[in-house]
């Protein structure tokens, strides 16, 4: 009975929505070909992939590629660097746009506010190549950063060659590039706060600070939590693009992260199976982290991704 009604529903759905399903076929083909096929391709992590044999026919090797990674001399350094860079980025990069949004929200002059937004969004649109190019140039011994350091009586040095400074340069330039753009989402959440709440609070004699703590922050908390879940979900997923552009052998010690290592071992050295295994390990940890934060958030704040 149940089964017949299911096929009946499918037939009815097909009659009703046939044209719609035809429209979505290219989209499905796209997702299968460029997202799910590579996921299938990731099984070479458990194989000894040889291009001439292809994914299916290459020989199985079990977890050999993974144990090779766990025993590699780079393992500890990569995990440490990836997590440190992520945590710094989260610690400083996450609150920055929230604070900017709160400050922008207090600005009364419409023209000034719109100008401030236009200007702070600008770095987001500049390509990473240009940003990295500027950083590289300004960090030279004769570069702008060093001119400023020298002006304040400091010693000139090639900043990008210094492993101790690498993370600060990486994180602060990321904040520079994304602070304005990141604030948009909080500004739109702030625009949705009921202004009657503020009026009522003012009548009750609550000052700005009290209004911030009792009205503004609770109102945008769901947005903050969702963004936080998304950020922690990509904690191990630090992008390789900026790292590849900024690091050099002198700074590998703090700069080399999992994804840039995959790039070198995979694309440059063509150690396909091994690099895929590292990538898969990374993806799985990431996904687990995302599920975990989402679950925690659901339990304690009733806000979640799904």
């Amino acid at each position: 009975m149940n089964k017949r009604s299911f096929t009946y529903r499918i037939r009815k759905d097909w009659l009703r929505n046939k044209a719609l399903y035809v429209l979505v076929i290219p989209v499905l083909v796209f997702y299968i070909l460029f997202h799910y096929k590579p996921m299938y391709g990731a099984i070479i992590a458990f194989k000894d992939y040889t291009p001439t044999l292809g994914v299916a026919k290459s020989e199985w090797v079990g977890f050999a590629n993974f144990t090779r990674f766990f025993n590699s001399i780079y393992f500890g350094r990569l995990i440490r660097n990836t997590i440190s860079l992520s945590v710094y980025n989260l610690l400083f990069g996450f609150p920055a746009p929230i604070i900017l949004a709160l400050l922008l929200n207090e600005v009364r002059g419409k023209k000034f506010k719109s100008l401030a937004q236009t200007v702070t969004y600008l770095p987001h649109f500049i390509s990473l190549i240009v940003v990295a190019g500027m950083i590289t140039d300004f960090s030279l011994t004769t570069g702008l950063f060093n001119d400023i350091i020298a002006f304040f009586g400091g010693q000139r040095s090639p900043l990008l060659q210094n492993p101790k400074l690498y993370r600060s340069i990486y994180v602060s330039s990321s904040i520079w590039q994304e602070i304005g753009w990141g604030s948009i989402i909080y500004l739109s959440a702030l625009a949705g706060v009921d202004s009657q709440l503020y009026e009522a609070a003012q009548i009750d004699g609550a000052g700005k600070w009290k209004q911030l703590i009792n009205i503004t922050l609770p109102s945008i908390a769901p947005t903050i939590i969702i963004m936080f879940i998304l950020k922690t979900g990509s904690l191990m997923n630090m992008g390789y693009e900026k790292t590849i552009l900024l690091y050099n052998p002198a700074t590998y010690e703090t700069a080399d992260i999992i994804s840039s290592h995959i790039y070198r071992v995979g694309l440059l050295e063509q150690d396909w199976s091994y690099s895929t295994a590292i990538g898969l390990f990374n993806s799985v940890i990431n996904f687990a982290l995302l599920l975990f934060t989402n679950k925690m958030s659901k339990r304690y704040s009733e806000t979640s991704l799904w």
């Binding site: 429209l23 590579p38 990295a132």
Partner: protein, 293 residues
């Protein structure tokens, strides 16, 4: 109703404006510096230390060199080709997907939505993606920079949310008139979504304009390089020697600096001209909570 502001609030307000002004200067100054340096006389530039507020002397030599460089012009042409074709494909595909996902009473909508969203949180990784492109013969071709990136799932979800807000009555009226889904999409939904589609053009356009990684990974023929890859050679690998050819050795380095800066400006200006016009629509392009059904 205007409430009188307390003294503390006024002080806060002054500091707020001050802080935001400083932030604006920090955001824009590096670009300003680069622009001023690019117009400067190269021999003065190498002797100069510290901030630049205006060009040192005035010279367009660096720009002449940039526009004479066949590789940069080639890169420009390649990027414009990829941009025009790419954004067209991106818009068509994303609209198709968003239209499907915004319909009601469709049995397989949920599973397809899950299929799409899952890709935001899990992927096969860089290497399987690359090997897949090789399998599909998309390496060393501009199509390899267009087809595999036709749909950005974030953009798809944003567009779906926007399509969902179009009143059903309009769609139903068109259906009663005998319009099929494709006609409804083209004649009803798209005209009502111009603002968000403009934002989509900007998002896709900027990401194509600024993309370099996959181009550097899959394209081997130098003549096919997009602008950013050429830019990387010039900026990061100090490949300005060939461009300053003809000048003496010490001049070459001096010219090299301003050529670098001029190249940055030439490659960045097109984008900086477009985005302020679309700024007021950006809040439409946010997607928090949009994943939830």
């Amino acid at each position: 109703m205007k409430i009188k502001r307390s003294r503390g609030e006024r002080i806060f307000s002054i500091f707020n404006y001050l802080f935001l002004t400083v932030l604006m200067i920090i955001c824009i100054y590096p670009v300003w510096y680069v622009a001023m340096a690019s117009f400067s006389k190269s021999n003065l530039l190498t002797q100069h230390f510290g901030l630049l507020l205006k060009p040192l002397g005035f010279s367009l030599d660096a720009y002449k060199k940039v526009f004479q460089n066949p590789m940069i012009m080639r890169g420009y042409a390649n990027t414009i080709f990829i941009l025009v074709v790419g954004v067209t494909f991106d818009l068509v595909m994303t609209s198709l997907g968003a239209y499907f996902l915004s319909r009601k009473r469709v049995m397989f909508k949920r599973p397809i939505m899950l299929l799409v969203i899952f890709t935001m949180f899990f992927s096969g990784g860089m290497i399987p993606f690359y090997l897949n492109l090789k399998d599909l013969h998309l390496t060393n071709s501009h199509w390899g920079l267009i087809i595999p990136f036709m749909i950005n799932t974030h953009n798809l979800i944003i567009l779906r949310t926007s399509f969902e807000s179009i009143p059903d009555s309009l769609v139903e009226a068109a259906q009663i008139d005998g319009a099929g889904h494709f006609t409804i999409l083209v004649k009803v939904v798209v005209p009502l979504s111009k603002a968000i589609l403009a934002v989509m053009i900007l998002y896709y356009g900027v990401s194509i304009w600024n993309a370099w990684f996959w181009a550097s990974a899959i394209i081997r023929t130098r003549e096919m390089y997009p602008l950013q890859v050429i830019l990387r050679e010039i900026l990061m690998q100090n490949d300005v020697a060939s461009m300053s050819a003809g000048a003496g050795a010490s001049d070459a380095e001096a010219i090299g600096m301003s050529i670098k800066y001029a190249t940055i400006i030439v490659a960045t200006v097109p984008i900086l001209c477009v985005y302020p016009f679309l700024q007021k629509h950006f809040t439409k392009g946010t997607m928090v909570g949009a994943v939830k059904e």
